[in-house]
Symmetry: C2
Subunit: 337 residues, 2 copies
């Protein structure tokens, strides 16, 4: 195991420096929340919530099912952990204010890996949600690398955008990160899965390919708040594939969502990079972490949102493509896949 | 593996019912927070924070280092996960309002184990912090059973009690759960460690012994708020042993804490249950999850707090016993133990 996860020589590890010093090495590199009242280091942190309501969500990444140490560097893992949690706050129309990060790592983990993990978390917060800081967490020992973040966010006096507000007649729109195409993360995973084991780069994968979207996703976090100002009636983070997540809005809102295949293919088209998959592939491609939202039919789509369908009265199927029912609903179930 | 962790016969498991149904089985048994605005089931939950500040902390339990499936039932694990997190909120003078619970479990985990875990969480909240609910979380797949909770709490317009406010002349006091003695959790762990493997009870350990304090701790959560009204100048959750946690207050407050051995022995004495350990044992006994606090010298001690020492000007050692420096600082470091 290389890629930053294994200690080289007599490099200090969590076991050699002890828990307190390891925690210090990690937290010293983390950004502070703009809402900090009392930072980490006591039994708990205290965060300002001027709005009087806090958005809260949690997402985990576990070695094996969710990431591989020979694909993801500690930096990649920290980045992705932040990104997937920030996306969930954005999907409520919230502004992320803080992450609480619980790490469970082997005793042999080098301190340098902890520092890279911190840098990935820090850079993702700076890039995706400026002002969001890491305000506490936990370090435990485990044979299985497990990282869990809980994200807090503010609604800044706005109403939350749930999955339940779509109305027949609304339009359906998707925002991906800047420069992203629908299905990039899934294409990146396929690329990684096909990579010869003996040719894996020791220092992690360089950027510039679909692999970026898989290892270091860039969800359109700011479009969460933009969607609220654009009048969004419902919203969801697209992590399990467009068909499955669209069906979640449809079921919660008791409507049918009719997706337009030509629009999906256009958003899935990647000029000069690789062949585009079919509509079925795009519907089931997981982990894009785009925002799928519905808006009133006459709304001007905000931010990076692009039209992908319309909302209809509830019919026999929660999701249609070009007016036809989906035969099989794709998507990602970690316990079934 | 029995004790509720293994599926018997064709009992449904996470793998057989799938992620969404497994999550539903778990969440259906959980209590709702008194501060709920929008419950779990969307991308994030929304919680009321009328105070304008939120207390937040996270603690994890990992199979192996933190618990064993042949000692702890899923119910025990849920209880302890709630208890240790609620204690951290209490140690800030906070009132716990919600837990966010991330589970990483093997695919083979029976749904009945998820239900028991939920019941343990629910019962601990009801008993220790009524009104605190579980408002979201995550279910991931892992070969290593890992449970992480993030606790949120309210200060209800009061100032937080940190580790940094102790002043020379203050008195030092300890609150344990009702009926608890100092060192019970460590005695319980010793009892478990000495239990013959072939005689482990299949349905978990019955209550009525020190094992309770180890598997299902009852921290004095309500004494956290009581301490604030009693004028507490500093406070900490005693999870790593009294000496080590007292030294944390001493260092943060730049004072020396002088513990009184006779008081410790009195609080460690267990009438008619087992011989009492020496002072050294009591100073290093981990996981009691009592609250150690300092109060003005003329304060009437609130709740279950009992006098255990005095605060002095910073001397050569952060912690003294009967005025003498501690030769070795006991306590629990998961990466060093």
């Amino acid at each position: 195991m290389t890629n930053g996860w294994a200690a080289s020589g007599d490099e200090p590890t969590i076991a050699s420096v002890g828990e307190e010093q390891a925690i210090h090495a990690f937290t010293a590199r983390l950004p502070e929340s703009g809402e900090r009242v009392l930072g980490p280091g006591d039994d708990a942190a205290v965060l300002a919530v001027p709005d009087g309501r806090v958005v809260v969500t949690s997402d985990s990444l576990v070695e094996g099912p969710d990431f591989r140490t020979y694909w993801s560097t500690p930096y990649d893992l920290g980045w992705k952990l932040a990104a997937v949690n920030l996306a969930d706050v954005a999907a409520m129309g919230g502004r992320p204010t803080a992450l609480i990060v619980a790490l469970a790592l082997p005793r042999s983990t080098p301190i340098s890996a902890l520092e890279l993990l911190a840098d990935g978390l820090a850079d993702a917060c700076d890039r995706l949600a400026p002002g969001c800081g890491i305000e506490g967490g936990d370090l435990a020992e485990s044979p299985t690398i497990t990282v869990v973040a809980t994200a807090l966010g503010s609604l800044d006096r706005r109403a939350p955008v749930t999955r339940a507000g779509a109305r027949a007649g609304d339009i359906v729109a998707l925002s991906l990160g800047a420069g992203q195409s629908l299905g990039d993360a899934a294409r990146g995973l396929m690329t990684l899965a096909g990579w010869p084991a003996e040719e894996l780069p020791e220092e992690g994968f360089p950027s510039g390919t679909f692999i970026d979207a898989q290892l270091r996703p860039v969800p359109p976090v700011e479009d969460g708040v933009a969607a609220v100002y654009g009048g969004a009636t419902s919203m969801i983070d697209v992590s399990d594939g467009l068909a499955r997540d669209a069906s979640r809005i449809a079921r919660a809102s008791r409507v049918t969502i009719d997706l337009d295949s030509a629009s999906l293919l256009a958003i899935g088209a990647v000029a000069g990079r690789a062949p585009v998959g079919g509509v079925a592939e795009l519907l089931s491609a997981a982990e894009d972490h785009g925002l799928l939202a519905t808006f009133p039919f006459d709304a001007a789509l905000p931010g990076g949102f692009r039209l992908v369908g319309t909302v209809r009265d509830l019919g026999i199927s929660p999701v249609l493509v070009d007016g036809e029912p989906l035969a099989a609903m794709g998507g990602w179930d970690p316990f079934r896949a």
